[in-house]
């Protein structure tokens, strides 16, 4: 009996691939890590949260879908219901939409949600060529767009005595300890009984998500660590200088969108540098910017702005003459000096402000 032998085809080495690695796995992990925060938001805000989340994801996915269909049409391809570039299949658009939704306050009007989602995904991602090409984090771009354009329409629905968010109050008087009378650390840590955006409040759930991502190695743990570490360092320096005590740095970490931004937005691999060193400097720069905007800026919150600003500098972090796969001794020394100088600048600045 004549056996049919398999055809021999030619390929180039290597012939193996890491079995478990895939973009889908990475993006799905981020979505899974966001689930506790999402459930907490729904538990706390009910229908309002569900509406915001559904609208955000829906608007982003629809924008992307329509965009790719139009692009394919222009390229002269035949219309297919299932578009090949559409990133719903690898969870990327779901992740963006969910992150965006969770940064919004619960009272955001529906058209603002949709507008921000559209702006974020279109100008943040599609215009640059889709997944992997974007300069800005789509979620952060959409959030900042509506924050700047429709800021007055979004007030925080407050269920405690205070009339503003913790950071909002602190913005009026930077070093007023009495603020903390309204917000106990337990409140800030669990997210119960404090105002804020629907997903940013519960520090413990965000950290839980972060730990999950770290265990699954689906994000770069150096960025949130240096980011939060830098804020703690600068806040501690200010606290020591002003004699404010331990509550001050802890308060800075737990309030506002810092944890959420550090864990879910700054770590977006597409909009962060690719080397180990670059990622550490990136996290440091984010921390400095966030703290400076909070202390010296007009806005109470600086996480979104600092992420967008640093997104622009990612290409410089990756400039071929400046990058190095390993962190050299020279880099360590320069980085140490930069950290010291930053601390000094902060203290000098605070002495003028306060």
């Amino acid at each position: 009996m004549e056996k049919t032998l398999p055809k021999i085809v030619r390929k180039t080495s290597p012939y193996l691939r890491r079995p478990k690695a895939s973009v889908t796995r990475m993006m799905r992990d981020v979505t899974i890590a966001l689930l506790p925060v999402t459930f907490f938001a729904i538990y706390k805000f009910g229908m309002a949260a569900i509406m915001i989340i559904v609208l955000s994801i829906g608007a982003m996915a629809l924008t992307e879908y329509v965009y790719y269909q139009i692009v394919d049409k222009l390229d002269g391809e035949k219309f297919k219901l299932k578009n090949k570039s559409f990133s719903l299949y690898n969870f990327s658009v779901v992740t963006s939409g969910l992150i965006y939704a969770l940064t919004l306050p619960d009272s955001t009007p529906w058209f603002v949600v949709v507008l921000g989602a559209f702006f974020g995904v279109f100008f943040g991602k599609l215009i640059f060529g889709g997944l992997g090409q974007n300069v800005f984090n789509p979620a952060a771009l959409g959030r900042v767009f509506i924050f700047v354009s429709f800021g007055t329409m979004m007030s925080y629905n407050v269920d405690s005595v205070a009339g503003a968010t913790a950071l909002g109050m602190l913005n009026n008087n930077h070093f007023d300890i009495s603020v903390l009378n309204n917000f106990t650390l337990i409140n800030l840590f669990t997210g119960i009984g404090i105002p804020g955006s629907i997903g940013e409040m519960s520090a413990v759930l965000i950290i839980l998500g972060g730990v999950y991502l770290a265990l699954r190695t689906s994000f770069e743990v150096r960025i949130p660590l240096t980011y939060i570490g830098t804020v703690i360092l600068l806040a501690s320096a200010v606290a020591i200088y002003k004699g404010l005590g331990i509550w001050y740095p802890v308060f800075h970490v737990l309030s506002g969108g810092l944890l959420f931004g550090a864990v879910y937005m700054a770590t977006d691999p597409i909009t962060s540098p690719i080397t180990k060193g670059g990622r550490i400097y990136f996290g440091f720069a984010l921390g400095v910017l966030t703290f400076f905007i909070r202390i010296f800026g007009a806005y109470p919150e600086g996480v979104m702005f600092s992420i967008l600003i640093m997104n622009m500098f990612v290409t410089s972090f990756d400039y071929y003459k400046w990058t190095n796969q390993q962190i050299t001794k020279k880099q360590k020394i320069i980085f140490g000096i930069v950290v010291l100088v930053t601390v000094v600048i902060t203290i000098v600045g605070v002495s003028y402000v306060g």
Binding site: K7, P14, P19, V23, N90, F219
Partner: protein
């Protein structure tokens, strides 16, 4: 997955435990007259001549060296025809039909231990040169040039790491011939006047460690040889990684390890040196792995140099017939060459043939996760080089030192998006060389 990952699944379970099959009497062998280093050749025999095992039948001419070609069986010389070499090129090969007598040539005489003790470096180099010994791990670099180094060598390192997945021929080699390898190491140390020897193995290969230490404790008490357990990652077998892990010596790109007082030999080469010095034999047999996920019975075979790979695949029950397409790889799965036909013959430097199912990986856009940057053993940034290749920006390719790439394939292996990064880096390497 964003992480430094040099763990490569090794798929060695089955064929590692099986004893090596002896297949030393092929009907005919084809001996390469050209290889990747030697383009021209002379033949000293003509069709119909009767040759003996170990007889010099020709001479390969390389750029700066010459390599004698030896008959690996006794028999009748046939025609010169084109056969595939492991590098994927078609080269001239001379056919010898076996007379199944295995008559050794008169040059094949054993040296006594006293004779060997008296040999100095130059004589040793002469023997190794006469027997045409080259780096048998796959490099094919002439061993006599290495052995004839004028630098002062402190440590001789035997590289038995075999970090490529699927391959286990070196593993079986040590298990079955530990004494010969230690003896070969003794000759090298004698030639180079080195004080210390070191055998580098992966730390999970406990049987090898036990075999070697047992022998060192008993029969080779006088040898100052240490068995070093190195890491289990890939590419631990890269010479520079071996030196770094075993001795803590970091050798910069482009410099020879001899300058730093160390020299590395592959374990099969060491066995070859033993054969050459002790028995005055050329490399006429070698351990050969047949493995892969589309072969029915993976195993190690001891073969004559010049045996047809097709025959060896048949001996391993052939291809998996459920597959429509297979990939035939000469060498390891990470760095080996894919050939267009199984009409390949085993040369001295061929370690294995692997048959894989033709899996097409779906490439997704790069998400800049940085896994390739974290994992690269040569400290490059493969993704940046890839982007530079896409833009055809030669200055950046040079700036990113693409020429340092060792083509280990790890960047493509770890890629989250399953992009063939290695191909891009290889292209950059060719462009800026």
């Amino acid at each position: 997955m964003i992480k430094k990952s040099r763990q490569v699944r090794d798929y060695k379970a089955l064929d590692k435990t099986l004893p090596t099959l002896r297949y030393v009497n092929p009907d005919e062998v084809f001996i390469h007259l050209q290889n990747n280093r030697c383009k021209t050749y002379d033949v000293y025999v003509k069709e119909g001549d009767h040759v003996l095992l170990g007889e010099v039948i020709g001479m390969r001419h390389g750029g700066f060296f010459e390599q004698p070609v030896h008959a690996t069986i006794s028999g009748t010389v046939g025609k010169i025809s084109k056969k595939f070499h492991r590098t994927g090129r078609k080269v001239d090969a001379i056919q010898i039909t076996n007379d199944f007598l295995d008559t050794f040539h008169e040059s094949v005489v054993d040296r006594t231990d006293e004779e060997i003790k008296k040999l100095n470096q130059d004589e040793m180099v002469e023997i190794v040169k006469d027997k045409g010994l080259v780096g048998l791990g796959g490099s094919g670099f002439p061993t006599y040039i290495k052995l004839g180094t004028k630098e002062k060598i402190d440590t001789v390192v035997i590289n038995a790491v075999e970090c490529e997945p699927y391959l286990s021929s070196d593993y079986r080699m040590i298990l079955e011939h530990p004494g010969e390898i230690l003896e070969g190491l003794r000759y090298i140390m004698q030639a180079l006047n080195a004080k210390k020897g070191l055998i580098a193995i992966k730390s999970k290969k406990t049987p090898l460690y036990e075999v070697l230490t047992q022998l060192l404790k008993t029969r080779y008490k006088d040898l100052n040889v240490e068995v070093a357990k190195l890491g289990n990652h890939y590419p631990q077998g890269w010479e520079i990684e071996v030196f770094k892990w075993a001795l803590g010596i970091e050798i910069p790109h482009g410099e020879l390890p001899m300058k730093y007082g160390v020299i590395g030999f592959n374990v099969t080469t060491t066995y070859g040196i033993y054969q050459a010095v002790k028995h005055n034999l050329p490399v006429y047999e070698r351990h050969f792995t047949v493995n892969g996920d589309a072969i029915k019975f993976p195993q190690n075979i001891r073969v004559r140099v010049g045996t047809s790979v097709k025959k060896l695949i048949e001996l391993s029950d052939g291809y998996d017939e459920t597959q429509k397409e297979v990939i035939v790889v000469m060498g390891g799965p990470m760095m080996g060459t894919s050939v267009v036909s199984d009409d390949v013959v085993v040369s001295k430097t061929t370690t294995s043939v692997l048959i894989f199912k033709n899996v097409t990986y779906k490439e997704e856009p790069c998400v800049r996760c940085g896994s390739c940057v974290y994992s690269c053993p040569a400290h490059l940034e493969p993704v940046q080089i890839m982007n530079a290749v896409k833009r055809n920006d030669k200055e950046v390719m040079k700036g990113l030192e693409a020429f340092k790439c060792i083509e280990c394939g790890l960047c493509a292996y770890v890629c989250t998006s399953k992009i063939h990064v290695t191909d891009y880096v290889r292209k950059a390497k060719r462009l800026v060389g």
